[in-house]
């Protein structure tokens, strides 16, 4: 110990001096550390921290943009928007205490007509998607609930009522299958290229044109930046930047609301599962397309009640399926014009050739009979189409059973292959062929290889054929327009909010099929006679129709179910502008169910012209003209 306890004189000695020097050096080092660190944070990395600070004090809220409206070809609104009050809960602001949280969730469940476990499940699901976003528990809450929540705010921390845009369908179920619906983007969809820039919680079109034309309809969400304090509460006057949302553009469809409504009414009247389509034979514009049973697209906006789920998704009648596009049916005799053109073009039939229809054709010991076992006597092609002679077409099918011309022509006309329609559906249809059957046979999928009977069946639209009204309409359109395979579409144009046309959709034809105009004329004549000739199969329905048409009935056999009713019609004859196809499952003969429905659709389409003709004037042509 070097300290002296005496009080006088300088207390320093060498050892103490050393210790103080070390002390001082230590202090210098510590201050150097502080100064260096300060310099590093403020001067070297200052920009980074300044950015963090700015980010810290602002919260950006996405302001959802109203989606564009969907209109029919005449500008009638099919889908609009309305604002709705949505009950949202911010899970991060719920009480931290589990018991209090449970009480609040129970209260919320009561308010939203749900159960606590369902509320929790919804919150978990949504939180996984968007960790910071509030969770929507119920849409379209009434004002009484809003007032109740406002008055009892302290009992419901974290609960807020948000104004959101929801789709509004002024015509209810009209064109439900075409329109599709809107829903929050799914986790996997966020990775897709077409949804680049979207965030969890954003809404996108799902199904129908809402999906196909989503990029036009969607709009661009706005951004509101708000200055917040450390608790995330907006500060007074803290609104910093507001970038208003850009509303989506309006989509005009090729659909004609009146024709569509007539078709749906005709389907509903019969109450049979089925579908209809009306299409412009030259452009592929779909004027009406529907499927029965249908559904309320408004109900598909989540959250759904269990009842709604059962009625739509678990309904055995599958109302969500668009049978016009996704149906897989044999077509019955409506297939015969295709067989006819194949036989004519491949030289297996001449226009003047007469075939004796004895009521049945026996091939390899197996008899193929006419429907109703009627014998039509000697018929040429036109007559065969008029009376729908099965034996005539059996014969053609038999003539082409090995050579594949029927398949080649049916394929060329679009049967069994995607049509390219602008709706998000998988078009998986089947045109039976020798190759297909033999392949299946080799794989053990069937008990026998391709036989003449298969082709005979196909010639009359029976057997393994699986197609739908859309493909048939495209094929009929090609026969009517001289061989152009149109691309069916429902999107017509995109207008901006001010009504300016931004984009028009006129998809190029898929291809052209060369066909002899005499053959086409003969087939159309046969179809015209079938609809409006003396012995025609659908003359009961169309005989008195003031506009000349060319139409073909079909009765598809689908054992064990009752026969399926088909009708395909081109109008006006002889230069058709539209093709209409109707099918009804279990509808029986084509003339019984499908043809009357097709007539109602044509009446709606030609309503204008029919009204003029009823007044005895030579009027303009139809409303869709």
């Amino acid at each position: 110990m070097y300290l002296r306890s005496d009080e006088r004189g300088p207390a320093m000695n060498n050892r103490l001096t050393l210790r103080i020097a070390i002390f001082g050096g230590f202090a210098v080092v510590l201050f150097a550390v502080l100064f260096f660190r300060l310099w590093l944070i403020q001067v070297i990395d200052g920009d980074k921290y300044l950015a963090e600070a700015k980010n810290n004090r602002t919260r950006s809220y996405r302001v959802s943009a109203p989606r564009g409206e969907i209109l029919d070809r005449n500008g009638n609104v099919l889908v609009a928007n309305r604002t709705s009050l949505a009950l949202q809960v911010n899970p991060r602001k719920l009480p931290a205490e589990e018991s209090q949280r449970r009480v609040e969730i129970a209260r919320l469940a009561e308010l939203t007509h749900s159960t606590p476990s369902r509320v929790r499940r919804t919150m978990r699901k949504e939180l996984k998607l968007a960790p910071a976003a509030p969770v929507t528990l119920r849409r379209d809450v009434g004002h009484y609930l809003v007032y109740y929540l406002k008055e009892n705010q302290q009992r419901f921390p974290g609960v807020e009522v948000q104004r959101v845009f929801v789709r509004d369908y002024p015509d209810g179920t009209l064109a439900a299958h075409l329109l599709g619906n809107v829903g929050e983007i799914e986790e996997e969809e966020l990775k897709e290229r077409r949804y680049r820039g979207l965030e969890p919680g954003d809404e996108i079109g799902q199904d129908g044109v809402e999906d196909t034309y989503d990029r036009y309809l969607r709009g661009r969400p706005g951004l509101t930046k708000v200055q917040v304090d450390a608790l995330g509460q907006p500060t007074p006057n803290g609104r910093l930047v507001t970038q208003p949302p850009a509303p989506g553009d309006d989509l005009k469809l090729t659909i004609d609301e009146n024709v569509q409504a007539a078709g749906e009414a005709a389907m509903a009247e019969k109450g049979l599962r089925g579908a209809f389509i009306t299409m412009d034979v030259h452009t592929g514009e779909i004027i009406a397309l529907g499927s029965y049973p249908t559904f309320e697209p408004a109900l598909l906006t989540p959250p759904l009640t269990q009842k709604q789920v059962d009625e739509t998704y678990r309904n055995p009648l599958a109302p969500l399926t668009d049978r016009a596009i996704s149906g897989l049916y044999p077509t019955g005799s409506t297939f015969k014009p295709i067989t006819a053109i194949a036989a004519l073009e491949s030289g297996k039939l001449t226009l003047s050739e007469v075939i004796e229809d004895t009521g049945q054709l026996v091939i390899g010991g197996q008899p193929f009979k006419n429907a109703g076992e009627a014998a039509n006597g000697s018929v040429d092609l036109v007559e065969a189409l008029e009376v729908s002679s099965d034996v005539f077409f059996y014969t053609l099918g038999y003539r082409m059973w090995k050579t594949g011309e029927l398949q080649r022509w049916a394929h060329a006309l679009g049967i069994g292959r995607p049509t390219g329609i602008d709706l998000p559906v998988a078009e998986e249809t089947l045109l039976p062929s020798q190759h297909w059957r033999n392949q299946l046979y080799r794989e053990g999928g069937t008990e026998r290889p391709w036989s003449p009977g298969d082709n005979v069946q196909l010639a009359t639209g029976q057997g393994d054929l699986q197609t739908n009204p859309l493909q048939m309409a495209v094929a009929y359109a090609a026969i009517a327009n001289g061989g152009t395979i149109v691309t069916p579409h429902v999107g017509m144009q995109v207008d901006d909010a001010a009504g300016r046309v931004l984009k028009e959709f006129a998809p190029k034809p898929r291809r052209h099929v060369r066909m002899d105009s005499e053959y086409r004329a003969a087939i159309l004549e046969g179809l015209h006679d079938a609809a409006q000739g003396g012995r025609g199969t659908s003359v009961d329905v169309f005989g008195s129709f003031p506009i000349p048409v060319a139409g073909k009935t079909g009765t598809a056999q689908r054992p064990p179910y009752p026969d399926q009713s088909w009708y395909g019609v081109l109008a006006p004859y002889p230069n058709p502008r539209i093709v209409t196809f109707v099918t009804m499952e279990e509808g029986g003969f084509g003339v019984e169910a499908a043809a009357p429905a097709a007539k109602k659709i044509l009446e709606a389409y030609f309503a204008h012209r029919l009204a003029h003709e009823a007044n005895g004037e030579e009027g303009e042509e139809g409303a869709g003209g």
């Binding site: 103490l16 210790r19 103080i20 002390f23 001082g24 202090a27 201050f31």
Partner: protein, 398 residues
């Protein structure tokens, strides 16, 4: 002639008619030290006036007003203490030490609890935190014990005795619980022992014991189920090593403080200082006031404050060397260490290089007890300085 002129040119300090400064003893005080201390206290009032404006509803200058009152009281106390011969405190060491321990112990009985710890008495007009004044008292008492016991017992015995004397009040403070002040007590104890000449080998042993203790407290004790630190204390102590790991937790405060300081850049953000104004930085008027300064006044402001501290500590260390006796040397060393430790730990905490320990920034952090105690400590330094200056001249001030 020549002699007369010479006398006139350099008049004797204690002339027959001393000037007012002479009467006040100002020439014998350490001017730069006083300027640094008063400057820091004044700057504190200025910062609080700007940064906590309207924090208390209805009283926009609540914190600034009170801090100003404490600072004025403290400066008066500093001056009065400077005029007292500090050597008296050596004689009073037992009384001082007893008062220190009893006052801290009484907090357990009469103190009021704030945020889960009892640290202060509620007195009329203000609350009094004995452990703040205790820092100065510990220096005065411990230095006395070291001088007094310099010849009693072996060196090991003496080292153990000093340690026990220093760590007893530290333990009491730790139990309040106030980890930060307990650490300051520990630092003071070690500094007084260091200046008092305890062997290096003993410090090595103490260092090894500290490492072992830290390991035991942070790792071993929780592992066997006997947590010594409260959960939040441990979290604070360890989270600075991974500050961004959980922004919602202990590291959050430090992260926000760092962002605040960094965003000040070179010249500061002034009234646009959102980090500290919008409550992102917690405890902005006390433990994190340096972050406020960093954000509002930038590198210039923060460096200015650090420079004042450097000046203060340099003058304190200089006083160590000037002291007329060993007691003064020890006291000055203890106070210098107290200041240095608090400044480094607090500023280091704000800058994200030291753990969050709840140690206030001397003179700048809002708090009457702290400001008063620190200014009184500076008063003691001034007294040592004054006695040394007067001692050189062989006179007392009064």
């Amino acid at each position: 002639m020549y002699a007369t002129r010479a006398r006139r040119a350099r008049p004797e300090p204690f002339a027959v008619h001393p000037g007012i400064a002479e009467r006040l003893g100002l020439p014998y005080m350490d001017g730069p030290m006083a300027i640094a201390a008063i400057g820091l206290a004044a700057f504190s009032v200025f910062v609080l006036a700007q940064a906590t404006l309207h924090d208390v509803p209805g009283d926009p200058y609540y914190f600034a007003d009170r801090q100003a009152i404490y600072a004025i009281l403290g400066v008066v106390g500093m001056y009065l203490l400077a005029r007292v011969d500090y050597s008296r405190f050596r004689e009073l060491r037992v009384g001082i030490y007893t008062f220190l321990c009893v006052s801290i112990a009484l907090v357990f009985v009469f103190g009021f609890a704030a945020r889960g710890s009892r640290r202060a008495f509620e007195l009329p007009l203000f609350s009094f935190q004995p452990s703040e004044l205790g820092k100065v008292l510990l220096v005065l008492a411990l230095a006395g014990f070291v001088i007094d016991g310099a010849r009693k017992g072996s060196e090991v015995q003496r080292t153990v005795r000093y340690l026990c004397l220093g760590l007893a009040p530290a333990a009491l403070v730790f139990l309040q619980p106030d980890l930060g002040t307990a650490l300051v007590f520990g630092a003071i104890t070690l500094a007084v022992m260091y200046v008092g000449g305890v062997r290096w080998t003993h410090f090595a042993a103490i260092g090894a014991a500290l490492v072992a203790l830290t390991a035991a407290v942070l790792v071993a004790a929780p592992a066997i189920g006997v947590p010594i630190l409260k959960g939040y204390q441990e979290q604070r102590l360890t989270s600075f090593t991974h500050p961004s790991a959980d922004p919602a937790n202990a590291g959050y405060q430090q992260n926000q403080a760092k962002i605040a300081i960094g965003s000040g850049e070179m010249t500061g953000r002034g009234n646009r200082a959102t980090q500290t104004r919008l409550d992102f930085v917690p405890e902005r008027h006390t433990d994190f006031i340096f972050a406020v300064i960093g954000e509002r006044y930038g590198f210039f402001g923060a460096a200015f404050v650090l420079s004042l501290y450097a000046l203060l500590i340099w003058r304190a260390l200089r006083t160590v060397t000037l002291s007329k006796n060993s007691y003064g040397t020890l006291v000055a060393g203890g106070i210098a260490a107290m200041l240095l430790f608090q400044v480094f730990v607090n500023v280091g905490m704000n800058l994200g290089i030291m753990p969050i320990t709840g140690i206030p920034l001397p003179l700048l952090s809002y708090g009457g007890s702290s400001v008063l105690a620190t200014l009184l400590a500076v008063g003691v330094l001034q007294s040592i300085h004054m006695q040394a200056r007067l001692g050189q001249r062989g006179r007392f001030a009064w």
